[in-house]
């Protein structure tokens, strides 16, 4: 009996300490009204975008003395974890740059009520806009930059091997792979071809075959369709034949890039995307000649659109955060951002007018043209609410097929079973 008393006594003590602590803290929060309203803005960076966005934030702070934007950068790998956890406890930032807005719809702010320009959401591309639109038409944010997948070629290696680049515009993946293989053999470099380890890049590869993950209405799956299957079989085969190195795809830590191999001139053909342009320009310099080329065309053009979104969270600054969003989404701000960071804009007016990039303008326009050529299925997949986890599952199962743990057929079967579960 006494021991029960002792235990419950200490429990009680524990509880009271916790309560006192909580109460004391709440009273301490008394905000002075003359202070500028703080808008907390969380960002992750891929390099060149950082000075661009920092410049814009500084500009906004200067023009709006009643608002203070607190800008902080977090690593991408932990972004989702960070936002999910903080939002669940009511501690979300006011605005964040994300890749998968749907994860946070429970906590995001409908910006429509506070917009100065009610037409603002319509100024952005329709497809990506869907990803920040709630079930009842709520608008939670905007697409802020656009990316486009596509291959890069080491032109100097082709010249050194004495093999001309293909002249026709429409080249299949197989033709590229064979060319890359020949160049590799003639020049003795380490790698013929590589693709980033990402379900997104893989889907872009599959698009050329007429393949993809989801049916056109988005309700069904087509991972095991003949087109997708053919693409996946080829992709695995290229690894088994040694045209694509195991180095990139055999690991399991989510995303793995082949930038190192490419910038060192060791890789002939690299399937990645426009975000590499700025870094390539900086690190390759005059070491060799390179350029972006269109995605393969088999049944249709390949490639995938992608991009980052700005979303607003419910919080203490619902008016101010929308003002910041309208500023960053304005035509002027976006032009500055896109040219500095070498991204593609998401505003309809800028896409129609085109953006003049200070360097590597031609390569950037290869991507913009590719974007215009994209099949509808690429947009369906990328803007599907379950794209993230389904792409991860396909990526990891195909990895198992590449390393020989399971067959391609088994990989497809397992991936589709898991995807079906995720679609419930």
């Amino acid at each position: 009996m006494k021991r029960l008393l002792g235990i419950s006594g200490s429990l009680l003590l524990m509880l009271s300490i916790v309560t006192v602590f909580a109460a004391g803290k709440q009273e301490g929060k008394q905000a002075a009204s003359a202070q500028p309203t703080i808008v907390r803005f969380v960002w992750f960076t891929d390099g060149p975008d950082k000075p661009a966005i920092e410049g814009l934030v500084a500009k906004f702070n200067q023009a709006n003395p009643d608002i203070k934007v607190e800008f902080s950068i977090v690593p991408f790998a932990e972004l989702n974890q960070l936002l999910t956890t903080q939002a669940a406890a009511g501690q979300a930032p006011d605005m964040a740059r994300v890749t998968e807005p749907y994860r946070f719809f429970q906590y995001t702010l409908d910006i429509r009520a506070n917009l100065k320009n009610a037409n603002f959401p319509k100024e952005f591309m329709d497809e990506p806009m869907k990803l920040v639109t709630g079930a009842n038409g709520e608008i939670y944010g905007i697409p802020h930059d656009l990316t486009m997948n596509g291959p890069f070629v080491n032109v100097s290696l082709f010249k050194k091997a004495g093999i001309p680049l293909p002249t026709s515009e429409k080249v299949t993946w197989d033709e590229w792979m064979q060319l890359a293989k020949q160049v590799k053999e003639k020049t003795g470099v380490a790698f013929a071809a590589a693709a980033d380890r990402s379900g997104h890049r893989l889907d872009g590869f599959l698009q050329s075959y007429g393949g993809g993950f989801f049916t056109e209405d988005g309700k069904g799956l087509r991972i095991s369709s003949p087109e997708t299957r053919k693409g996946l079989e080829d992709f695995v085969r290229y690894h088994k034949e040694g045209i694509m190195p195991l180095d990139i795809w055999a690991g399991g830590t989510g995303y793995v890039g082949a930038n190192q191999q490419f910038v060192n001139g060791l890789l002939v053909f690299y399937i990645s995307g426009n975000w590499q342009v700025a870094q390539f320009n900086e690190t390759i310099k005059d070491k060799f000649e390179w350029k972006a080329v269109p995605n393969a065309f088999i049944k249709q053009w390949g490639g995938m659109p992608g991009g980052k979104f700005l979303i607003a969270f419910k919080g203490k600054a619902p008016v101010q955060v929308v003002r910041l969003m309208e500023f960053l989404g304005s035509s002027e701000s976006m032009t500055e951002y896109a040219t500095k960071a070498m991204f593609l804009p998401t505003r309809k007016d800028l896409l129609a007018k085109g953006v003049q990039y200070p360097v590597r303008n031609e390569d950037m326009n290869t991507f913009i043209k590719g974007l215009a050529n994209l099949p509808k299925s690429a947009f369906v997949d990328n803007y599907h609410l379950r794209f993230g986890p389904v792409a991860n599952e396909v990526r990891d199962r195909i990895t198992q097929a590449i390393t020989g743990e399971i067959t391609v057929d088994k990989a497809i079967e397992l991936a589709e079973a898991k995807a079906r579960e995720l679609m419930k």
Partner: protein, 290 residues
């Protein structure tokens, strides 16, 4: 201090630790168990499935099973290496040599590094193309080996790197244990004509047993929770050859949005560790080592 009456003092001493412990470990663990009974998705309310997640993991999920068997292999290699390695290094560091302080510090140094740093460093060394080890091999005329792309090698290196990073700590514990063995015992044995080997088997090992028990318990538990080192070094690859439990849990929660499933997996992991701990505790109790 052995009294019949139930004393109050130990509870008072325990309160601060228990308070923090309950609020920040037990409570969350309880919540975690509660979550494991639900099928969760970001798009619909959580649905109560009872033990459904557990059955799914045990019966249907090949990745879960793979992660579990990989983990068992890892822990065996890791703990084995830890016991042998720490005794070996402990004995080396116990010798009377010049610069003894320096050597003791040198072996301890990697313990200070964060898992992220450790894994990044070794990734650079073992990288197929850019790595120092293969550069060394090719400069000696032999062919480089894709260390992290061959399942067996990848398994080996995950264990090796973890040992590299933590052996220093366990070696110090062993060293301390060695120093507490009275020198007279060895002197007596020496007089009796026992050679080094016999001294080792008949004096060192038996008297070191309690210390080795500590090493065993700590390294087993730490082995089961392995994550950062392996995740950054191999990412679980090639394929799923080094996929460990915590990485499986992490993937289920943050890459597949299946929080309920992740919670169930972590509860199973907890259960395994807990049972192992109890068994080791009872074994230790039996030998009066703990």
């Amino acid at each position: 201090m052995r009294k019949k009456k139930i004393p109050l003092a130990p509870y008072l001493f325990l309160i601060p630790n228990l308070l923090v412990f309950s609020v920040f470990i037990i409570l969350p663990a309880g919540y975690n168990f509660y979550l494991s009974l639900f099928d969760t998705s970001p798009f619909r309310p959580a649905e109560f499935v009872g033990l459904g997640n557990f059955l799914y993991l045990l019966q249907k999920d090949d990745l879960f099973r793979r992660a579990l068997s990989n983990l068992v292999i890892f822990v065996f290699g890791d703990v084995g290496g830890m016991l042998v390695g720490s005794v070996l290094i402990g004995i080396l560091l116990n010798q009377r040599v010049k610069l003894r302080g320096f050597f003791r510090s040198a072996f301890f140094y990697p313990v200070l590094l964060s898992p992220v740093v450790v894994a990044l460093v070794w990734q650079w060394i073992l990288n197929n193309q850019f790595g120092a080890l293969n550069a060394l091999l090719t400069s000696m005329g032999s062919k480089g080996i894709p260390w992290l792309l061959v399942p067996q090698w990848s398994r080996f290196w995950t264990i090796f790197v973890h040992l590299w990073a933590t052996l220093g700590f366990y070696s110090l514990i062993v060293l301390a244990g060695l120093q507490s063995i009275p020198a007279e015992l060895y002197e007596a044995a020496f007089v009796d004509g026992a050679d080094r080997k016999r001294q080792f088997y008949y004096i060192t090992i038996p008297l070191l047993l309690p210390t080795l028990m500590t090493v065993l318990v700590l390294s087993t538990i730490r082995g089961f929770e392995i994550f950062d080192h392996v995740y950054i070094l191999t990412g679980g690859g090639p394929g799923t050859a080094t996929l460990m439990m915590v990485q499986y849990i992490y993937r289920a929660a943050f890459q597949m949005d299946q929080f309920g499933l992740a919670a169930a997996a972590s509860f199973l992991l907890f259960l395994i560790i807990f049972l192992l701990t109890v068994v080791q505790y009872l074994l230790g109790k039996h030998k009066e080592a703990m």
